[in-house]
Every structure is written in C-alpha cells, then in structure tokens.
C-alpha cells in the first residue's frame, strides 16, 4: 500500500491539528503560551519526542503484546523525554528553565500517547515518522501563534522584544489563557470549515466538467 504523505501532512497541520482540532495536550498549551518563545521550545521538544517514539513504536509494533502496550508505549516515551530533558539542561539552560515543570510532563502529554496508539502501532516506520513530524509542527505552530498573540496583548512584546508600553494584563493571566484558547479553537473551526466548503464546491465543479467532457465524446 502506498503511503499518502500529503494526507498525513494535512492531517497533522489542519484536519486533525492536535491543539486546535483534537484539543489534546492542553496543559502545556495553556501554561506556556504566555510567550511565543516558550511555544517554540515546547513545540520542538514535543516534536522530537513524537518522531522518536513514533519510529520506535512502529518498529516494535509486532513485538509488543497487546495487553501491555500502554505501559510499553509510556516507557518508550519516558526514555525520550529524559533524553530531551538532559540535552536541554546541558545545551539550552534558558529554555530548560522557562519550560520548567512542563518538560517532564511531556511524558503524559496525550498527543504522544494518542499518536502511538492510533497511528504508529498500525503503520510503517516512514509513515509514522512523517506523522510525528507534522503533528509536532502542527502543535508547534499553534502554540507559537497563541504565544505570540498573548505576548503582544499581555505584555506588549514579541519574542522578548518590547513593542510598546501598552498591555492588557488579562491576557498574561491564567484566565486569559483559557479565553485565548477558546477563541483560537473557534476561529480555527470557522476558517477550516470555510476552506472545506470552498474545496467541496471546487471538487463538485471538477466532477461536473468531467461528466461534460464525457458526454461531449
């Protein structure tokens, strides 16, 4: 069976975007989006763990007995999270500091376990790696945009550079986190629904063309 990489990419980024469509991994999303930089740091850490765990689980899918698959998946994920944690602590101590408690909590991030369970344990290695990559990018993009919005509105800065003195404290508070997330889910649903409608019309028009040409023949 040929793997449809384009579909995997589209799933991860849009149709089943882990943050905005499936609403998985909400804890780091709400906690770390006070700044755009946090979003990139967390996003890339999760992406790395996702790709690695997807590859390993896909390789081991026949070796892991069905009854103990969840503990086995968690062990694989915990190993990679430990690697990321040690690497960040050594190479990028600033990011390690700002991610704090949420770094070890990647272990229980539902996105990773969900992908292991629903994709990697059923698909080939290359497809699983691609899935991990695009799910991770979807997560990173969502977190970074949300972080940027909250940083601009809440502290009048972007990536740490001060833009202006004006700021609304609400957006950097925890209530602002829930509010921004709600608005993002809503907006994303609106945009993707519109786009889906458009592509449906386009597709039906194409089918119409096809039948016409057939009739002309």
């Amino acid at each position: 069976m040929k793997t449809n990489f384009k579909k995997i990419a589209k799933d991860g980024l849009i149709t089943s975007n882990p943050t905005l469509k499936l609403v998985l991994g909400t804890c780091p999303t709400l906690a770390l989006t006070t700044a755009a930089m946090n979003g990139i740091g967390m996003g890339l850490a999760v992406t790395f763990v996702l790709i690695c765990s997807n590859v390993i689980i896909s390789l081991l899918k026949r070796a892991i007995p069905k009854e103990v698959r969840i503990p086995a998946f968690i062990l694989v994920i915990a190993t990679f999270v430990t690697i990321v944690r040690l690497a960040l602590d050594y190479f990028l101590p600033d990011i390690y500091e700002s991610l704090g408690l949420y770094l070890p909590l990647i272990v229980v991030n539902c996105i990773i376990l969900a992908r292991a369970e629903s994709f990697a344990s059923k698909n080939g290695v290359l497809a699983s790696a691609t899935d991990g990559l695009f799910m991770g990018i979807g997560f990173t993009l969502a977190l970074t945009t949300m972080g940027a919005v909250r940083e601009i509105l809440g502290s009048g800065a972007i990536f740490g550079y001060k833009l202006w003195g004006f700021s609304i404290g609400f957006f950097s508070s925890s209530a602002g986190a829930f509010f921004t997330y709600a608005m993002f889910i809503l907006l994303f649903a609106l945009i993707t629904d519109k786009a889906a409608e458009k592509s449906r019309i386009k597709k039906s028009a194409k089918i119409g063309d096809f039948t016409q040409t057939k009739e002309a023949k």
Binding site: T26, A78, T79, L86, L101
Partner: protein, 202 residues
C-alpha cells in the same frame, strides 16, 4: 499550625493545580459534564496523588539521590503511578465493589493525568516547594510532601466540582453550534480562573 494553614491556602487556592498551574486540564474539561462524575474523578485523583507523594518522595530522596540516579526520575515516577493505580483498582474490586463502581472508570485515566506526575515532580523540587509553601528549601520533608499532595488533590476536586456545576448550567443554554463543546467549556473555565485570581492578591 501556621505552616499547616499556609499549605492549605497555597495548595487549594493560591496555586490551585488546575486553574493556576494548568495541571490536569484533560480531566478538568473531559470529566466535568455532571456533578457526580466530577466528584468521583476529584476524589480518585486526590487519593492517588496523596499515595504517589507518599511513595515517590522517599524513593527519590533516599534511593535515587544517594545512588546518583536522579535522571531516572521520570521513568521511575510514571511506573510508580501506574502501579499505584493498578493496585488501587485491584484492592477496590476485591474489598469495596461500591467504591469500585463509583471510582473505577476514572482510575485508568489517572495514570496519564499530568496533575499526579506534576505533584510528584513538584514535591522533590526543594526550590519550587519553598516558594509555594513559604518554607526554607532544607525544611522540606516527607510530611510536607504528603500534605501538599493531599491538598493539591483537594484543590483539583474543588475546581472540577465548580466547573461541573457551571457546565450543568451552560449545557442548558442555547448557544451557537460552534461554541458547543470545548469553546464554551474553556470560556466557563475563564470565569473560574478569574475567581481564583482573587486569591493571588492575598
């Protein structure tokens, strides 16, 4: 006594696990549709969290640190939590079928609940605990760890029960199709978070 009160106020209100520290958001949004299941989830989490702190804290301080195996903490902790959950499930099934029926379905979900692992990671971090409880970092001991686990769990229960009360009300509202589900739940959470914000001003 003053210390004791400080732990309660800090863990339950000022640094509420759900709405201030954002730990355990998945059950907070997922299992808060009605009061009964919210309370069940809250009690189950409190129970597991207290037990987890009781076991992980000594294992970390008296076993992993002397052996220089601190880097293994994530793997060790997640396995301890998974075994605790499994054991509670078996004990309840054997000795208290009523309690098992009330709590049983929430127990497997708790293994991957970040509030529990979060509590285990927090109590071993002397600096974090010092700022959360207002004690010196070297004062941290087993008693504080277990009490923190218990009251953080109660804070979680308080938040999820409040949320379920509000959601039972919002479920009856006639809102637009798009707002239904997660967006309206998050907006409800916004108001709970605003209410808890008052405690940070103390």
């Amino acid at each position: 006594m003053g210390q004791f009160l400080m732990i309660i106020v800090s863990a339950v209100f000022i640094n509420n696990f759900v709405v201030v520290q954002f730990l355990g958001i998945c059950p907070f949004l997922g299992v808060s549709k009605d009061f009964k299941s919210a309370l069940g989830m809250g009690i189950a989490v409190t129970f597991v969290m207290t037990l987890t702190c009781l076991i992980t804290y000594p294992i970390y301080t008296f076993l992993l640190v002397p052996l220089g195996l601190e880097f293994m903490e994530i793997i060790v902790f997640i396995f301890i939590i998974a075994s605790i959950v499994q054991m509670i499930e078996m004990v309840l099934k054997r000795f208290s079928p009523t309690l098992y029926n009330a709590m049983g379905i929430y127990l497997p979900l708790i293994t991957t609940n970040c509030a529990v692992l979060g509590a285990a990671e927090l109590v071993i971090d002397g600096g974090q605990m010092a700022s959360l409880l207002g004690i010196a970092a070297d004062q941290m001991n087993m008693g504080y760890a277990v009490l923190y686990g218990l009251f953080a769990g109660l804070g979680f229960t308080l938040a999820i029960v409040l949320m379920s009360g509000l959601r039972e009300k919002t479920a009856r509202l006639n809102v637009s199709k798009r707002l239904k589900g997660f967006p309206i739940a998050m907006l409800t959470a916004t108001f709970i978070a605003m209410a808890f914000y008052v405690f940070t001003l103390i």
